[in-house]
């Protein structure tokens, strides 16, 4: 049995390796994507293009404007002279924020009347809009504090002191890059497995494999091996790049990460093999792969939290192996997961792997019409 199995595994590796283009597809893009997405996928907002419309010549207004201009966040500023230009610069997306100071601002402030400043943001990107408003409010809060201190007024009776655990500066790259480990290993595992059976079936060599002395279980192992080895290898490279190149802290146990990665790969390649053995043609297999990869990524919590989803969608996400591995990979990188939380992510993946791999092995034989 071992000799047969070894021969099959070698054959599967060769099949993948011999084709120069598919070899490239499996190795080149993931590394490139890691670098591109690692830098591109960020929720941090910087270099906000800002327009300032100051109708007030007073010193306080000038001081406030200077705070915006000097801030590293609002570093690209234009000055508006007319009210009508506000709509132009926002509509055309020339700027994302307009700071409008009315004519009576300095006078109101001096007379201890509430002075109002108007902030207009482009809501076509509402997440960015909220973050920009947060930054702008910080600038104004600082201005208020300086003003009350220097004019002997009483500040607010309570103040909020915000501290962030595991990611003190809320760098979104720390959140995204560990997620990319899960994202790219998913794509690779599915790409390698989804077409393997379908291709052989289309060419007719799968029937030959079935009539050989190999049992379905052995075929399953042979077909899984390349994806497992490639997935583990690429996962390790990505983790190394995340730590060494992007400088993401890794505070958890490497063993926990690999235990998670192994089960994650088994469950995803199970899905890939299932798709592959269900498909009649390669075209259907690719479609199936797409139809799994895209929702699996979007519903995994990679970019938007699962907690924000409606209940029925949250139930759907329970079948998504990436959901569990994301918690493990982010947890081991940033915080070091408590054991019970780690285990409660492991067993659902083990369950998904068992179901999909068994189904794939069964389908090898029973899809033969």
């Amino acid at each position: 049995m071992w000799i047969r199995l070894r021969a099959l595994i070698i054959k599967e590796f060769l099949a993948l390796w011999r084709d120069r283009r598919s070899r490239f597809v499996v190795i080149g893009p993931p590394i490139l994507q890691l670098l591109v997405f690692g830098y591109a996928a960020t929720f941090d907002v910087g270099h906000v293009a800002t327009a300032i419309y100051n109708e007030d010549g007073g010193r306080a207004a000038r001081d406030l404007v200077a705070r915006f201009v000097d801030s590293p966040t609002f570093d690209r500023t234009v000055t508006l002279q007319r009210d009508s230009r506000i709509a132009d610069v926002i509509d055309s997306r020339e700027v994302s924020l307009v700071v409008h100071i009315g004519p009576s601002f300095s006078a109101d402030l001096a007379a201890h009347r509430p002075a109002t400043i108007q902030l207009i943001v482009d809501g076509r990107q509402s997440n960015t809009a909220l973050i920009i408003l947060g930054y702008a409010n910080d600038v104004i809060d600082t201005f208020n504090r300086t003003w009350t201190d220097s004019h002997g007024q009483r500040g607010p009776p309570a103040r909020l002191v915000v501290r962030s655990w595991f990611n003190p500066n809320l760098v979104s790259r720390w959140f995204i890059v560990p997620g990319i480990v899960a994202l790219l290993t998913l794509v690779v595992a599915i790409l390698v497995t989804a077409l393997s059976v379908a291709r052989e079936r289309e060419v007719g060599t799968f029937e030959q494999l079935l009539v050989s002395p190999l049992r379905p279980f052995e075929i399953l192992v042979g077909k899984s091996m390349p994806a497992l080895v490639i997935g583990l290898g690429e996962g390790s490279v990505i983790v190394a790049v995340a730590v060494l190149w992007f400088g993401i802290p890794f505070v958890g146990h490497l063993a926990a990460l690999y235990a998670g990665l192994l089960l994650y790969l088994l469950s995803t390649l199970g899905v890939g093999l299932m798709i592959s053995s269900l498909a009649r043609t390669q075209q259907q297999a690719i479609l199936g792969a797409f139809l799994f990869i895209v929702p699996a990524i979007i519903l995994s919590g990679f970019a938007t939290p699962i907690a924000n989803m409606p209940d029925w969608v949250q139930t759907v996400t329970l079948a998504d192996p990436m959901r569990y591995f994301l918690i493990i990979v982010r947890g081991t990188f940033l915080q070091g997961l408590p054991l019970d939380r780690f285990l409660s992510q492991l067993w659902p993946m083990a369950l998904i792997a068992t179901v999909t791999l068994t189904a794939a092995a069964w389908l090898f034989r029973h899809r033969l019409q």
């Binding site: 598919s22 997405f37 996928a41 960020t42 929720f43 907002v45 406030l64 509509d91 055309s92 997306r93 002075a115 108007q118 902030l119 943001v121 809501g123 076509r124 509402s126 997440n127 809009a129 909220l130 973050i131 408003l133 947060g134 702008a136 409010n137 104004i140 003003w147 009350t148 007024q153 500040g155 009776p157 309570a158 103040r159 909020l160 002191v161 915000v162 501290r163 962030s164 990611n167 003190p168 809320l170 760098v171 994202l183 390669q282 075209q283 690719i286 792969a289 797409f290 895209v294 929702p295 979007i298 970019a303 938007t304 939290p305 924000n308 989803m309 969608v313 759907v316 982010r330 408590p338």
Partner: protein
Amino acid sequence: MTGPGHGRRGRWRRLRGLVVKESLQIFRDPSSIMIAFAMPMILLLLFGYGISLDARHVPVALVIESQSQAASSFAGSFSHSDYFAPRVMHDTRSARRALVDGKIDAILVLRSDFARELQRPGGAPIQLIVNGTDSNTARIVSGYAQGAWRKWLELSGLATGTAVTPPVTVDQRVWFNPEVRSRDFLVPGLIAIIMTLIGALLTALVVAREWERGTMEALIVTPVTAGEILLGKLIPYFGLGMGGMVVSTAMAIFLFDVPFRGSFLVLTVTSALFLLTALGMGLLISTLTRNQFVAGQIAIIVTFLPAFILSGFIFDIGSMPAVLQGLTHIVAARYFVSILQSLFLAGDVWSVIVPNAAALAIMALVFLGLTRRFTRKRL
């Protein structure tokens, strides 16, 4: 050269024949129709409901070390907020444990001397600890907490008659999306991503399949030209893709209640341009690879992930490093996302639509031109 099959009439007849052949193929293999109609519906349903950046009922722990009137009024302002689902805890240890376990997203601590500190000149500190593992949610949660804190200051000041208004108050307006519903900006972007997938998938495989099976050679030895073969493939899939676009737009407007403030004419023209780009990209991939296996893999790698991450659909392009901002210019979805966000939320903003549509037109020409060249060269 006046025999049948030559001249303009012959060309039209050949083209019609090709279009009919391709359409028949589409109808016989339902997978193309599935891609064009069922896929946008399923994907929009899942994503429209699934992708949201609006955190609601965020689980937070309120640690109140000693009860006082001020502490309970502060706790009340969190219980009444739609954004939070607070639970009161009496010691920091168990709250910290819950944060590490991911059961709560934030902790608010009112220390035992809270009521006394309120009277001091510096004011009482309220500690907010957020779980930074998910940095974006952490930022949103601390923004909500700041809002609740400001509101509490205002209300408690009014109640005691010692209102402390800050010197400068902010009047903030979020244009085009005053309620800041993330769905309103995500759904138009999703349409662009889904159309990228559909356009590339529809064509990436068909031509590769013909090369693989040798039917492409059979087509090429007939009098049809490379351009005609391409048009014959493009026309039926273009029709399918536009059908998918109609389905997606209707779902966005009627199911997800996203406002549509532009004109349908502009939407039709720009969608047509985008679809030509996406189909052109798919045709180019399959012409270059001539192998379904590789074509499928490349289509997955160059379409979905770049459209998801580099298009400005969810991650702000202006915040990316300059090199990557340059790279986004070759992602067709980027232009379409920008057009759709404006058309849906702002209206026909020509200063956004014209440059983006021009970029799409150029990309479509490049992809289709290259495909035509490679089809001929490899005769």
